[in-house]
Symmetry: C2
Subunit: 261 residues, 2 copies
């Protein structure tokens, strides 16, 4: 089965039927995938405000109505409680289980947040001939905890997490230009060059993901990373939260190229 | 006194001292001015979600912490309850009073929203040689109720209000390009040309503001308007809401030219 050429609605149907429970990387080529975070209404205001104050870390694709599992804007006929291959449930900041369906766990006070993902702009970078090293090397993107504080909101606060892609100097401008036009998937980089300037001690030792090769003369380019909201939320230890399992994303009906404003 | 060349902090000090209670139009040339809306925490989640779902109508400059009058991001040392020349208080959707200071009315559960204003992009249009007819004619911008539904959020729903600026066809591209780069002050137009397409029966009879001259061959260009959130909120009749009085805005420390992302 070649999932890369299937329509998002077809893949979501397989996921909903429990026939597909693996990672979504490479599926439905060209369509945006989103990160999931579900919080009770009691914590949702603070988190919504956090996303408003930190739009480059937490670019919102869609926020559900209170209690609603229905995705309206980013997909047709989608159910956020069944259409993701794998979920993680967190209680007081501790992961307590993995599920392929959260229908039975859904509550009337739950609010879901679909958050844009850098997968979307990587496709655009590759199309434009900008190298994406971790894809070339078959690795996960290198991610680093910085010394930059997020703008706090209510119970949520913490340091910014960034992802890094090294590239030749003459590709940096193109990479900035392409990603700046995609604010709903992290937008322009937040830092270019010296890792120490943002509190990264060793570029070869990422805090999350894998180290990648940086060739002689290449410049590291740093983007805000979707791990930030997850780490910030889990640090706040809400009584319950649900996320997608890493790599097991929600596949939208919206093309990456349409995430330009 | 030439207010146009004064610093925002100086003008805000005069306003705070009650020495300046008039309209802020033309003051502190080049600095962004913002619309105010204050709501109790009980209605603030729905409104924050409304702004997230309708970013072109409700471009947020800053949202205060619950109970806080302090402006942190858009100005230094500013107090949202004293630094606007005139406020309006609304109870159940009905205006019940005008005040030059709302310190005595402030509550621990109040949340303020500072919302971007098209004044900011008009300066940029003028600098680029794009005509702004209502300024040429010394009028208020013409505004129209459309047949376009805003994306509803909780208790808030209603039709989109647009502002209109007519211009020669060869200026439209420049106007789109300039305003598209300013998403925090309404961004790119939402419609160009035929007013009937968005439910406007007579372009010469605006629902708010003044009619302006449209020269032979000029194209009307429509932008989302900051009147939308005000009308949507007042329609929902919250127990209490506070806004700025029309034309009596909050003057920020941020230059319009820096509202480009």
């Amino acid at each position: 089965m070649d999932y890369s050429t299937m329509k998002p609605s077809e893949v979501r149907a397989l996921i909903r039927q429990g026939k597909l429970t693996g990672q979504t990387s490479g599926m439905c080529d060209g369509y945006a995938q989103g990160n999931l975070l579900v919080l009770p209404r009691a914590q949702a205001y603070d988190f919504l405000l956090f996303t408003q104050r930190n739009p480059k870390s937490c670019p919102i694709l869609e926020v559900g109505d209170v209690g609603s599992r229905l995705v309206k804007r980013m997909a047709a006929d989608a159910d956020i409680a069944t259409d993701i291959p794998k979920y993680r449930v967190w209680e007081n900041g501790v992961m307590t289980g993995e599920y392929t369906d959260i229908s039975q766990l859904w509550r009337e006070d739950f609010v879901y947040f679909l958050i844009g993902c850098s997968f979307s702009f990587e496709g655009e970078l590759l199309s434009a001939g900008v190298p994406v090293r971790h894809i070339e090397e078959g690795k996960n993107v290198p991610m680093y905890l910085t010394n930059i504080d997020c703008e706090p909101a209510g119970i949520f606060h913490g340091k910014l997490v960034v992802s890094m892609r090294p590239m030749p100097a003459d590709q940096v401008i193109r990479a900035v230009s392409i990603t700046a036009s995609m604010p709903r998937v992290h937008g322009a980089p937040i830092h270019i060059g010296d890792p120490a300037k943002i509190g990264i001690a060793d570029i070869h030792k990422p805090d999350f993901g894998d180290a990648v090769t940086i060739h002689e003369g290449e410049i590291p380019v740093f983007w805000c990373c979707g791990v930030t909201p997850q780490s910030v939320v889990m640090n706040a230890k809400p009584p319950i939260a649900i996320s997608h399992a890493p790599g097991h994303m929600f596949i939208t009906d919206v093309k990456n190229s349409l995430l330009k404003d």
